[in-house]
Amino acid sequence: MATKSNARTATVAKKEARPPRNDKPAAASQPAAVAASASGASVELKKDQLLEMYYLLLKCRQVDERARLLFRQGKFKGNFYSAVGQEATHVGTLYGCRKTDWVGPSHRDMVAAVVKGVPTRRIIAQLYACVESPDRGKSTPAHFGDAEYNIIIPSSTIAAQWQLVTGVAFGLKMQGKDDICFAYCGDGATSTGAWHEATNFAGVHKLGCVYVVQNNLWAESVPLRLQSAAKTLADKAAGYGMPGVVVDGNDLLAVYQVAREAIRRARAGEGPTLIECKTYRWYGHSEIDPAKYRPKEEVEEWKKRDPVPRFEKVLRERGYWSDDWKKKIEAEIKAEIDDAVAFAEKSPYPDPSEATQHVYAEE
């Protein structure tokens, strides 16, 4: 990274916050990163911002958990790809972004929309494939995109969105705008040709991209050791002439800190940054995957690093915490989700005639 303070954060994350690699059970504790990054970011963030970040973190968690529940209750068809455990990567990177900034999510990033400010009703409606869904039921539940909020629809051909959002950044650069593009993917995506072509292109043209790899150690059932022999996935950035930063993806303030510098670079026209967030998905690849391939100890170890209580700890240490406040926001979020579910359940399916619509702009 370009600045001194961020170089420090990156080093700290690399040395002290390294989560377990590959499919080996995790090593025990690692509290240093929280303290280090939290102190690093504290100068920037005021109390109400920190509370807002916690609120968003909790909201991501609750929206995602509700989606899982609704699927298991048979309320919607298809499948769902939970991001529970990875929410700090969304809040940490997108907190404070502009509505006009762009997001290229993967199938596991539905909750990025929560941080981008999309109303919960629109998000839940997507699950129900109803007419109130932003895509009127055309795409599958986890493929949340929303043109109103500049969120590109994911594609199941992994990293296809990585290319599109890179193209958006190319367009924005040609127009002289300083809106930027956030792209998300998992560790598996970094093996695709699409990923490398796009990342290389962004490097060549110094595009305003913040690339976020959520390395959760498993691409469906394939362990990282069979995905890449690189020491870190962030190392791949070197080949494309951009900074690559490894960060503890379950440490919200650490993610926020490295993202700030990446965002600054992107807006200033200094080019893209690749951020590797070491994180973990609590559940299977999808709701129909029991994920038996992962050692129990590994899952348990990572659950101990749950980003939500970790961030709660930060707030407590600063004297910002109140149990009543948490109860209040929990209830607020639950009410908002309840309302969204009721809204989606009332919304009709599209008329079959819509199947032939939206193929061409000019018929």
Partner: protein, 328 residues
């Protein structure tokens, strides 16, 4: 009318004029800034700058991906795939995003792109510089597939793509680049997408074709007239998706005998779709089975001259088959 220009010059002119018209127009592709392998982009960089005439890394997927993404913020991209033989790395973007993003988003995202690509054989290009591959794209709802045969159509259709709102595959048969010339109007003109044109009137049988097939078919029609007194109508499809059903059925109803001529391979080629359309809609108008005169079902165009000749359509091959059709 101005002076006669070649097919490639017509394409070059279309881009020069459209770059002038639309400040959001840009082109991204391999080796284009210097003018390109065939000089399609000659003079563009000098006139409009390298920020609009952009040499891409050697990476076809991101050529298409970057252009498509840029179109989402209002840019007007031309993606050049140097040879359609090299388009395979970009297939994911073309099939999943270019063709489907509008649909997947219920029209809330409006991608627009013109993908220009050079295709076709008969110039000693060998396996990887001779493919046609147009059938792959005809299969994709969401794409429009344009395949001009004359300088006038090349210029007018390219302008229609650039000014349009959809996603276009624009095929340029390399054998046409310098072999056909035509005088073009000085004034601005476009050719509508989705409209075929009768390039030769006739009454005894119809040849439906496109691209380089038009030159072959016109020559074959002359021979049929001279040799047998058979009057052949030649219809140039110009756009392969959407097909001009009205024009296809119109010529069938006029002559009652139809041959489809193309260089693309037989099985699932453009002729298969045209033949199906005819039998579904004009079965009673047929005096003979619909005939397909096409490239053979072998993997690719082989390199050695006699092998390449075996693959290519030519007027004599077409005449030999048309004689059977006329006699049926």
């Amino acid at each position: 009318m101005g002076q006669a220009v070649t097919f490639i010059k017509a394409i070059n002119q279309a881009m020069h004029e459209e770059f002038e018209r639309d400040p959001n127009l840009f082109i991204l592709g391999e080796d284009i800034a210097e003018g390109g392998v065939f000089l399609a982009t000659e003079g563009l960089r000098e006139k409009f700058g390298e920020h609009r005439v952009v040499d891409s890394p050697l990476a076809e997927a991101i050529i298409v991906g970057a252009c498509t993404g840029a179109s989402l913020v209002g840019m007007n991209p031309i993606a050049e795939i140097q040879f359609v033989d090299f388009i395979t790395p970009a297939m994911d973007q073309i099939v999943q995003n270019v063709a489907k993003l509008r649909y997947r988003s219920a029209g809330t995202f409006q991608p627009h792109i013109t993908i220009r690509t050079c295709c076709g054989g008969g110039v000693g290009g060998g396996l990887f510089h001779s493919q046609d591959n147009v059938s792959w794209f005809m299969h994709e709802a969401g794409l429009k597939v344009v395949y001009p045969a004359t300088p006038y159509d090349a210029k007018g259709l390219l302008k229609s793509c650039i000014r349009g709102k959809d996603c276009y595959l624009y095929f340029e048969h390399k054998k046409l680049y310098r072999s056909v010339k035509e005088e073009l109007p000085d004034d601005d003109f476009t050719v509508p997408i989705g409209k075929a044109a009768v390039k030769r009137e006739g009454k005894d049988l119809s040849i439906i074709t496109f691209g380089y097939g038009l030159q072959v078919s016109l020559a074959a029609a002359e021979k049929m007239e001279a040799k047998h007194g058979v009057s052949c109508e030649v219809v140039d499809l110009r756009t392969l998706r959407p097909l001009d059903t009205e024009a296809i059925l119109g010529t069938v109803r006029k002559t009652n005998r139809v041959a489809i001529v193309h260089e693309e391979k037989l099985t699932m080629g453009p002729g298969a779709e045209v033949a199906a359309l005819i039998q579904e809609n004009a079965f009673d108008d047929l005096d003979a089975p619909v005939m397909r005169i096409t490239g053979p079902d072998i993997p690719k165009m082989p390199f050695s001259p006699p092998l390449e000749d075996y693959f290519m359509i030519n007027p004599d091959k077409v005449v030999a088959r048309l004689e059977q059709l006329a006699a049926y």
